[in-house]
Assembly symmetry: C2
Homo-oligomer: 206 residues x 2
DNA sequence: GTCTATATACGGATAGAC
DNA sequence: GTCTATCCGTATATAGAC
């Protein structure tokens, strides 16, 4: 193990470069030569450590995916927090994640389309959402408010949509909104508080 | 020109097949051989008509993109409709489009990331949104309601996020929501009315 | 216009020296 | 562990016959 972050082992340098490029360009458009160059090592070494492009990709993908659902399961199943606290925590957690790693959701979504089985078999079992304490609390509140459509899925979609889509569509939003990178992040920061506010209104109100 | 839809010219058959495969798999993962096979013609013919994979892709991309923004410009700039009517019309128009063509938004978003210049130079100039009548009406209403954050961009993002993201994330939603393809479409149909309702509340209320 | 056959390039992977 | 050199499959593109 190396001690400086700038002096990682070759294996780590390859993984870091691979994560970068795979996440930005996707599997098919990524060249193993590009990974090797960015890692500052030789192409042969990549295969020495990871055997193939495919295996390297799987590794990176699962690590990315893990990062994406880490925290969610415990957040959703927490018995002690209220519904509103969970909503605030989810928005806060994801927006922080995404500001630091804005290419992640598009990568995962693309993977979900081209090869759904892998990810779906890993973490996204049905119990993660439908049987969570979060959905129990949400359903109860929706019934109490006598909503015309009390399907909790709609509100879960709304929450995650408002959080995630702006990052996925960021090139477009910067263009039509005339925002610099810095301004874009600022706007996303605003949404950290605004989204829970909107969602709570949507749930508790008329 | 052929008269039956099942007996298109070779050029049209290639374009149709290309749109299918490019839209589903993206540029890098698409093989021109697959396009040729699906079109029922020979690989050489594809190059005879379109010179290269790249040019064929550009063509399909711009047509897809055109379809995606068609109607929006006129909807957004319509001087006669009210703010609420525009919101309803936008949700209605896009959800119809997306139920019929669910792969389109992800295709466009990927293109926007890998090669932003092409699409951004084509249709998404600043005036399409920021100087639209829609945003004028929206800004006015937000100021009238004395919102803490009256930036209209937030509400535009919310509207499009709630419409588009569920289609992009459909494999995931079907899984965690335990929905069949048919049930998924049903849920999206529900959103056609629900989204305008939520957005209007968000704008007009507290 | 449409095909078969082929040239050419590219990218993933390996052999083998150090 | 790391490199250079190279193999080999695959994919795009073209030549040329019909």
């Amino acid at each position: 193990m190396a001690t400086k972050t700038t002096d990682l082992s070759s294996e780590e340098k390859i993984k870091a470069a691979a994560r970068n490029i795979f996440t930005k360009k996707g599997y098919a458009a990524t060249r193993t030569r590009d990974i090797a160059r960015e890692a500052g090592i030789n192409l042969a070494l990549l295969n020495y450590y990871f055997r193939s492009k495919e295996q390297l990709f799987e590794l990176v993908m699962l690590e990315n995916f893990g990062q994406f659902i880490s925290g969610v399961r415990s957040l959703l199943h927490d018995k002690k927090s209220t519904l509103d606290e969970k909503i605030e925590a989810l928005a806060d957690f994801y927006i922080s994640q995404l500001i630091g790693n804005p290419d992640l959701p598009l990568f995962i979504i693309n993977q979900l389309h081209s090869n759904p089985a892998v990810l779906l078999s890993k973490g996204f079992t049905r119990d993660i959402l439908l049987r969570s304490h979060f959905v129990k609390q949400l359903s109860q509140e929706l019934r109490a408010q006598k909503k015309k459509n009390p399907n909790p899925l709609h509100f879960v979609m709304n929450l995650f949509s408002m959080i995630i889509l702006p990052f996925i569509a960021s090139p477009l939003i910067k263009q039509v909104g005339n925002l610099s990178e810095k301004q874009f992040k600022q706007v996303m920061e605003e949404r950290r508080k605004l989204i829970p506010f909107w969602i709570k209104n949507m749930i508790h109100h008329p």
